[in-house]
Amino acid sequence: MTKIELTVDGAAVSDDVEPRMLLVQYLREKLGKTGTVIGCDTSNCGACTVHLDGTSVKSCNVLAVQANGRTVTTIEGLADTAEGDLHPVQEAFRECHGLQCGFCTPGMIMQAVDLLGENPHPTEEEVRLGMEGNLCRCTGYHNIVQSVLHAAGQTEGATA
């Protein structure tokens, strides 16, 4: 067991973890941060995407011990409160129907936030390339791309 101390969604946490424990397992099993989900075992799907010191990472690809001393933000810490004050990217996904079953959504939103942080005014092509590491089976990506462009202020919103 290795002791780690880190900040997750604004709260300081400290635990003894097995060195092999993945960050996503730590978040789900130790902290109950079940908003972050596991969709594959080959780091292809991106459902587990969180921010580590402000940069998106697939949390199945990071060991919990690697997060020691660092800051993690999950989908649960993105909005100011659970009931309102959504992050603009969350709001855009709702506005543009950028989700259906919602399983990939936490990862999609976290990736989109990071993408827009690096490139606040992306083209559709840049959005598609920037979201390539996150799989969705429901939406056909059409409205996910619209959501990201909408969050960037580049579309009016959903078109049905």
């Binding site: 092999r20 972050t36 075992d41 996904f93 996150n134 089976r137 959903a158």
Partner: protein, 822 residues
Amino acid sequence: MTATQDRPAAEIGKDRRRKEDQRLITGRTRWTDNITLPGMLHLAMVRSPFAHANITSVDTEAAKASPNVVAVLSGKDFGEELGACINAWPITPDQKTPVHSPMPAGRVAFAGEIVAVVVARSAAEARDAAELVDVEYDELPAVIGIKKALEDQVLAHPDLGTNKSALWVFDSGEAGTGTDAEAAITEARANGIVIEREYRQQRLIPAFMEPRSVVVDPTGEQITMWSATQIPHILRFALAATTGVPESKIRVIAPDVGGGFGGKLQVTPEEWVAWAVARRLAKPVKYTETRSESLMAAHHGRDQVQTLTLAADKDGKVTGLKVHLDADLGSYVAIVGGGVPVLGAFMFNAIYKFPAYRFECQTVLTNTTFTDAYRGAGRPEATYAIERLMDELAAEVGVDPLEIRERNWITHEEFPFTTVAGLEYDTGNYEAATAKAKESFGYDALRAEQKERRERGDRVQLGIGVSTFTEMCGLAPSRVLGSLDYGAGGWEHASVRMTPLGKVEVVTGASAHGQGHETAFSQIVADRLGVPFEDVEVLHGDTQVAPRGLDTYGSRSLVVGGEALVKAVDKVIDKAKHLAAHLLEASEDDLEYKGGRFTVAGTDQGVAIQELATAAFAAHNYPEDMEPSLDADATYDPVNFNYPHGTHLCAMEVDTETGAVKMRKYTCCDDIGTIINPLIVAGQVHGGLVQGIAQALWEEAVHDEAGTLVSGSFVDYLLPTAADTISFDVVHTDDPSICTTNTLGTKGVGEAGTIASTPAVVNAVVDAVRHLGINDIQMPCTPERVWRAIQGSRAGGATDTPPDAMPHFQEGALNQDEGAGQ
């Protein structure tokens, strides 16, 4: 009281944002794997690495000694209480159906089948210990692939004596719905056109994003199962029927479910093993599969060989169609596995007026993952075959593919139309959908560009693909299902409850997993009952909350479940009217109901439905011939399927030097009757399109010659990404063909995109290179396959489809093109 008269205009047709989204975008979700119970134990499955083998011994000693392992159990540790995975649709009386134990003790029939289960205090410890279970196998020869299975040389289940499970036949001449297809073919051979093709529907994996997960809690009077399932009600039925626990002692909950696409329309070995272990240990247990397990052991879809003969006169008017399918069931006949190709039987004639039709389907067993429903289930395969054939016929006659369709389709004046397959299509307007799609697509300009590129000899050629589809959905009229020997009905149930404070609880037997029922059903109830959208709460997915239901699949939730809702709401209004008349001291005949309020005609007297709900709750003053409640239930059994249709147009660019294909534009005009929520409809279409496009271009589940799934991870099974796909042009007809068999006029849309898009894409790819002498490219149309087709044609190779276009069926080639990737 809510001021219902201030309610906004009609909800139906409005692009409401979804009620579901708040919890999903903030991570406040309740996926099955999120559920943790006190004392809960975790399961890990030990799976067979062999496709076919006798289990000679299972040594669990080392695993049992592993830290925090509670138990290690194999098939021989259980008796009848383990139950069985059922087949609910024996398609013929003499269907061969192997016994499907959730965890066989004697013989495994596919690689990935469960042979033992480890129970430990944590999932990681269970998995560690699973590695220590020592299973000895006596390997048996495995039969892989349809053509091998048909030879009956190697048997998937030796005790059955054959791999052939069932032969299902429909013949319009015999059924009296049309004439003799063989006669039409004979006539066409002499005086017309005969198109003969063999098409391959490759095996696909539904690949829902949420891996399957199950939690069983045996504490308390009812045993509760949470499962990532589309079918909580059918699951409860099957648990009771096969494990000896009465239905009244079983509660099944489908909490938030992360996609299904048919892939969670199953009763799974994993659920049955978890059920048995929890009962044995009297402790809550959880099993969540890895993605690799999901791809290997959750059911697959499609996997057919289609042998097709189309007869037409010289003008391209079709005179007959003969279809022979060979369908791979995999290792077992799954819950509706055998029935999936039969669902396509009625759709090969599609939107056309074929006079003669014969359909045969031979299902076969192999030592591969079992197959079952995947989005569209039988209808995509049928639509692919006929829409590819119609393009081939157009090429033969030398006219535009849309022209050949127009010569054969049912015109809008001819509805209702009884088809050669015996279905009655109520409404449709293929002309209108085609005209609108053509306009939005810019069909004529793209055809001009195609011509120009061809003449110029451009390295990148343009192809335009057409798919004018229809489908039968809204499963299903119970009597029709009965006539097909399906094991259940097709009704749906709803309850509408008025709460004391005037809110509305709607209980539906449909079980959403991404479809947005909470939103769309709220819109229906808001309009029908005249209450605010926000005041409607939709409850579903728990057999103790929604005790009756037949769940969600086959584009049925809105057209069947929505109609049940309408009927329940109408009953609530009838009861409320009786109470209103009593309280207003008026005759029921003088009451009008509008905007959630009863008013006495010609007066300013009135009472709102919410006030009546409170009055019924208080029950201080109500008519003697009435019970003090406004709540009502309804069970609706549809009288017919419904038949959405559409025209899909796709432009593909093909690089003739590299074989690379690129989608340029995709337009679809779907006519789905009344649209409840256009935003949700667009989402269903987009997602459906990409699943169908993925079959055309990318996805294929491949077992090697030993029966090992080699496309067993997302590295190998090519789910499309945002970078692979484009934005779509989704339009609808201005004057939709309203469905006449339900009150709302709706038709299903959940599967439409998937059914329509696959042939549109392949037609476009073939159209781009047809001038090079190519008339087929097998799916998925990878750059390699396209390049080989072009090279073959340049070398003067054969272009007749059978048998050379299907080289992967040649001996030893195993689902790969000749010489490819071996």
